[in-house]
């Protein structure tokens, strides 16, 4: 009987220890999310010059539950230090894109439009922000390419990158974004084919005033692309003096074929004439 009680007690204490560990883990998990959001906002404040003093309310010296939710331009899911949106449009912010923004992993809306943010969009921005739904970076001085990683934003509804200095091609894998409703890249320096979106093409208004965008609602992509493909295959055949045809120089046989054909053109009527008798 005593042994039974003892093992029961042991089991209870093990359970209690496990429960405590679970609670600690849960607390740790929530704290971790909070710390990531805090570092995200710190990165924004430290990366950008703030002549209009919007960041004066962003005080990191006194931390308490929900303190970042009181920051100007910041909204939380509820009062829990988990950022759901950042609205900093038209605040004269200047500097490079804050790399820590991707730590706001629960953010749904980010509006940094109409500022003076320059330099590239971080190439790994798409590896965070899994729940981003509305992203507006329009009217800045962003340069460099549109990162391919943004294909991971599977819930994005609105993506505005217009009025910047973005270059290169629009990543073709954006075709996978099935919730996207607004896509605007006008007034950049983009080139190449536009993505084929699964829910239908955007109108030409999404793409105006770029370097050389083509395809979709725009004019078809030119033969220059054909030459690119030929160039690819050419390199596969290089250094073989006997090869001809396809993308290479035409074979002499083709001349012979022409000769054969012209011979037929002469010979057949001759044959029918000669056989009329």
């Amino acid at each position: 009987m005593a042994i039974h009680d003892r093992s029961k007690m042991e089991r209870n204490s093990i359970l209690r220890v496990r429960l405590r560990m679970l609670i600690m883990l849960a607390c740790f998990a929530t704290i971790k999310a909070t710390e990531a959001d805090i570092s995200c906002l710190r990165s924004i404040k430290e990366s950008l010059e703030d002549p209009s003093h919007i960041f004066s309310s962003w005080d990191f010296n006194y931390m308490y539950e929900g303190f970042i939710c009181t920051f100007a331009g910041v909204e939380c899911w509820h009062d829990d230090n988990i950022v759901i949106s950042i609205h900093l449009a038209g605040k004269k912010l200047r500097g490079s894109f804050p790399v820590g923004i991707k730590n706001c992993t629960n953010m749904a809306t980010l509006d940094l439009s109409s500022n003076y943010i320059s330099g590239p969009i971080p190439s790994d921005l798409g590896d965070g922000l899994d729940f981003i739904v509305d992203l507006n970076l329009s009217n800045n001085s962003l340069s460099g390419p549109i990162p391919r990683s943004i294909v991971n934003w599977r819930y994005i509804n609105v993506l505005r990158l217009d009025n910047n200095n973005l270059t290169g091609q629009i990543p073709s894998d954006l075709t996978a974004l099935d919730r996207i409703k607004v896509f605007n890249v006008t007034n950049n320096r983009l080139s190449g084919p536009v993505p084929i979106f699964s829910n239908g093409d955007f109108s030409a208004e999404s793409y105006g005033n770029n370097l050389e965008l083509c395809g979709g609602p725009l004019k078809a992509c030119k033969d220059d692309n054909k030459h690119d493909d030929e160039g690819f295959f050419l390199s596969g055949y290089a250094n073989n003096s006997g090869l001809c045809g396809g993308p290479l120089k035409s074979c002499k046989n083709e001349d012979d074929d022409d000769l054969f054909l012209s011979g037929f053109e002469v010979g057949f009527p001759l044959f029918t004439i000669l056989n009329r008798g």
């Binding site: 509305d134 819930y155 509804n157 073709s172 996978a176 099935d178 699964s198 054909k226 493909d229």
Partner: protein, 235 residues
Amino acid sequence: MDRISPLISTSTLLWFIFVLYSFSKVYGNSEGDALNALKVQLSDPNNVLQSWDPTLVNPCTWYHVTCNNENSVTRLELGNASLSGKLVPQLGQLVNLQYLELYGNQITGKIPKELGNLKNLVSLDIYMNRLEGRIPSTLGNLQKLRYLRLHHNTLTGTIPYSLTTITSLEVLDLSYNRLRGHVPVNGSFAMFTPKSFYHNPGLKLPVYIPPPPVATAPSVAIPPFTAPAPAPLSP
């Protein structure tokens, strides 16, 4: 005769005054009555509702109640107040209510379907309570709603499709409940991610099937490479 008529006119006048007074008291205080009905159904160990005096002409001086210029209730803020008990249908009578903040309590029972009458409601926060039952489909009538946070309760049933018609909705959190069925993805729900629905064991999140990658078609038709027939082995 002369003695009786002043008596009659006086008593008639008094009666009229009494009726008018009662009438105005009732009319002016219907929102106070509604809130008082809530107070009766709630258990309030911290006495946060102590200032709620139903004999006053309107509830606008009560703590945690905010009114507009016409003495009509616009905000009810009772978050984290250790309240238990149940919500009441009379809350649906607060026609100018914009913010209903009842989060972080131990409120039990169902969400009254009468909350669907609150046409001006902007924020409905009853998260972190012990609510049960279904989410009323009448909440789809709240066409100005921006924040709907019902997470951390024990709500059951399916998510009403009527909620997808609320185009003003910005923040939705139904996580940590016992909801089941499919999560809508149409209407306003296109912008809600799994984060709004986590920890509902019976709830089926929309399956994301990435469309097959679209190969950019080459402009030159490449002839398929056919392997030459293997040379026969020499006998």
